[in-house]
Symmetry: C2
Subunit: 444 residues, 2 copies
């Protein structure tokens, strides 16, 4: 990697010699890939960094001015207070990419992600300040936008080709390092998966309070990957469906219910340690400090749901639609009482209620850190909104998701109104250290 | 239509007898359609209105607390400062729907739109407060969200069936009232239109600073239409690409350029009167105070664009990428000088530059009020982002768009990087008066 000189953030200084946050340019290979040979030899200019607007703070996590560092012991975008918007992208490493080129791609992605999350353009010159005879290093649509709490989170998938191809080729010399748990999720009852929206080699989750900032990140990371990895599938989400911090109010899913009330919160460090982060005692060692990401595209048949009566809707969730209180009584954050019976000795929260089947007490204490988003992708040929929940969860082991989902897939009353149409699992490495790159321990 | 009793906004009062903004419920037909016969006779409850959060104001139009009235001489969502997010939906009136049922649908939509834009749930009971043996009248996912500047704008399409079917049937007795100009747009050079993303009977444009508020509006309006009209196509947009007020900064399109610098602004009332609103002297009389809406789905081949050099990009637009200044000099709002020549006597703004070809001086003074949005709808099979501009313009006559677009389609240097893949034209009636409904003059 070539080191670039320190760059000035435009909002702070227009003097290129002023001291500022040091960031680094793309690797030589990345620069060549983007801009052609003419750029690599050109001297330093003033970087076209984005203005970090001091926008008025909005309540909770919806702050335009929030900045989350890319480097750290864990990756950001997991226990970070869930931002409002998502662009999730999955890449396959291209045929012919070598181990060295894959590492270089991860290095380039790391440098770019660190710049983007800090509110900088990527590259040494950025979007708008030349050189004029090369393509701009940054595509420019985030010029003038605030950082908007951008996080960029990387994960490694079990397939189709990263650790080992279907016919057993170890392309990158890491077949022996695949975590035993990084394998195809079991087929759950009712699964109706589209391979075009499932699996893949590497995922990038970009979350931000401004959708254009998230889209800009994925677009530029895709561009950096050109020739080395290609987009396999992607998903935009417009509304977060979970809180990951007690500072956040509980949002609503497209069934109109509060979602994620009992989610793991960043303010529960013991639970996070126990349930989210892969420990140094777990296998494999290279994944210590990381996590596993499960993504499920869940299509909601909202037209059918919308015709069900309120009593049924509340029975399905086991909570009231307004306050989100358990049907056993109390308010949103009251613990549900699954034993409390109402008329004819029937439990107030039914046997098939979602809140019961998903609850840790019914799953041997298992919790997931959920971080999903509502989506609407137009409509289908019958005029129904192509809408649902893009479920994302982080957990120390995929077995946590599998055990809960087996319980739900078999019994959940909600199954009448949903269909799982996409699925993927990724091993999310620990955070990158400065002067290193995300996923470095996998290649060490 | 049945009148509902005045309702209390929850944020203002929890006492159902407290005086508040009177709104009205759905028509009896609408209520029956939604909830079944059991609801219509039930007495009044406390409506489940949405909380109008007093969120901290953000800069410009991005205010969570903005409220734009639905009733008025013109429809909102045209000269209203462009909100950040879009959900655009086009419906076809169902086979078998009578004239009376179509009018009733427009009445129901009017009542619902007035409630939604005021931050209320739709219906008399709303989303969460029962009756428990009926489906909730409102789907509920906007509970707790602010009004977020929601506007809902209706338009009538020339087809396939509204004014007259292809085989000449006058379903609703309005064939004689079709504006002569409400007809298929000409085929422009390079058009590559998908019929599944073009045309339709009725359009609804929902704009808001919160995408979930816009999605909630379209979803509930679709639901109200059940059995009377069905969704034909729809489009979400995540980032506005035009300013319609001098109070707004100029946003950027996905080519990274500022867009809409020279757009018509609400603060130019003479221009708005001359170029946007259909006058009482224009034909037909029922459209006075209205406008025409052109929608074009423009796919950008951003991967190709991203490989073009900065000099080429600026030459294509005729503006600098950073400040958005014309290449003839000055700053963003400096008038371009199309005669100013540079080296070898070539004009600094080339003959094929977008800013030249689109400029009013090159189009006999014609202006459009643009109100488009950036979109990303996943990616295609080749791993390219399915991204572009959902262009929307309002104008007094479709001929304004046609003349400018013919000029662009023939000569614009930008054509190398874009493809028009969807197209539609709608006659947008004047604003609804209270106690009437949107489009009433068409049926008077």
């Amino acid at each position: 990697m070539t080191r670039a000189a320190p760059r000035a953030k435009r909002a702070e200084s227009t003097d290129p010699s002023a001291p500022s946050t040091p960031t680094r340019g793309l690797s030589r290979r990345g620069l060549l890939g983007l801009a052609g040979a003419s750029v690599a030899g050109i001297g330093l200019g003033v970087a076209g960094d984005r203005v970090a607007l001091a926008a008025a703070a909005m309540p909770g996590a919806a702050s335009a001015s929030a900045v989350y560092p890319f480097y750290g012991s864990h990756q950001a975008g997991i226990v970070t207070p869930a931002q409002d918007r998502l662009h999730f992208a999955v890449f396959d490493v291209s045929v012919g990419t070598t181990r060295a080129e894959l590492i270089e791609l991860l290095q380039d992605w790391t440098i770019a992600a660190a710049a983007l999350t800090a509110g900088h353009d990527i590259g040494e010159y950025g979007a708008v300040s030349g050189p004029y005879d090369a393509p701009p290093e940054d595509t420019g649509e985030a010029q003038g936008l605030p950082t908007a709490g951008l996080t960029i989170t990387f994960g490694f998938g079990f397939g189709p080709t990263l650790f080992e191809t279907a016919d057993g080729v170890d392309r990158f010399g890491i077949a022996g390092r695949r975590p035993a748990e990084l394998a195809a999720l079991p087929h759950f009852p009712g699964d109706d998966l589209d391979v075009g929206r499932s699996d893949g080699d590497v995922c990038i989750q970009a979350c931000s309070n401004d959708p254009q900032v998230a889209v800009h990140a994925i677009r530029n990371l895709s561009r950096i990957a050109f020739g080395r990895a290609a987009l396999r599938w992607s998903q935009l989400g417009f509304g977060r469906t979970s809180s990951t911090s007690t500072s956040q109010s509980t949002p609503r899913n497209l069934f109109g219910f509060k979602d994620g009330t009992a989610n793991i919160k960043a303010e529960e460090p013991n639970v996070v340690t126990d349930q989210v982060w892969v420990s140094a005692d777990d296998e494999p060692a290279w994944l210590a400090g990381g996590s596993y990401l499960v993504a499920r595209r869940i299509r909601m048949t909202i037209e059918t749901w919308d015709r069900s009566i309120l009593r049924e809707q509340e029975a399905v969730f086991g909570r009231t639609k307004g306050a989100g209180a358990p049907l056993s009584g109390g308010t949103e954050f009251t613990e549900p009482d699954f034993t409390l019976a109402g008329r004819e000795d029937q439990p107030l929260i039914g046997a098939a209620a979602h809140v019961r089947l998903a609850h840790p007490t019914q799953n041997k204490g298992t919790k997931l850190l959920r971080r999903g988003y509502n989506f609407v992708d137009g409509n289908d040929d019958l005029g129904r909104l192509e809408a649902g929940l893009f479920f994302i969860s982080f957990q120390r082991s995929p077995a946590q998701f599998t055990s809960v989902q087996l319980n739900l897939a078999k019994h959940d009353a909600l199954n009448e109104y949903i269909r799982h149409v996409g699925s993927a699992l990724f091993a999310v490495p620990a955070g990158a250290r400065e002067n290193s790159f995300v996923g470095a321990p996998l290649f060490a």
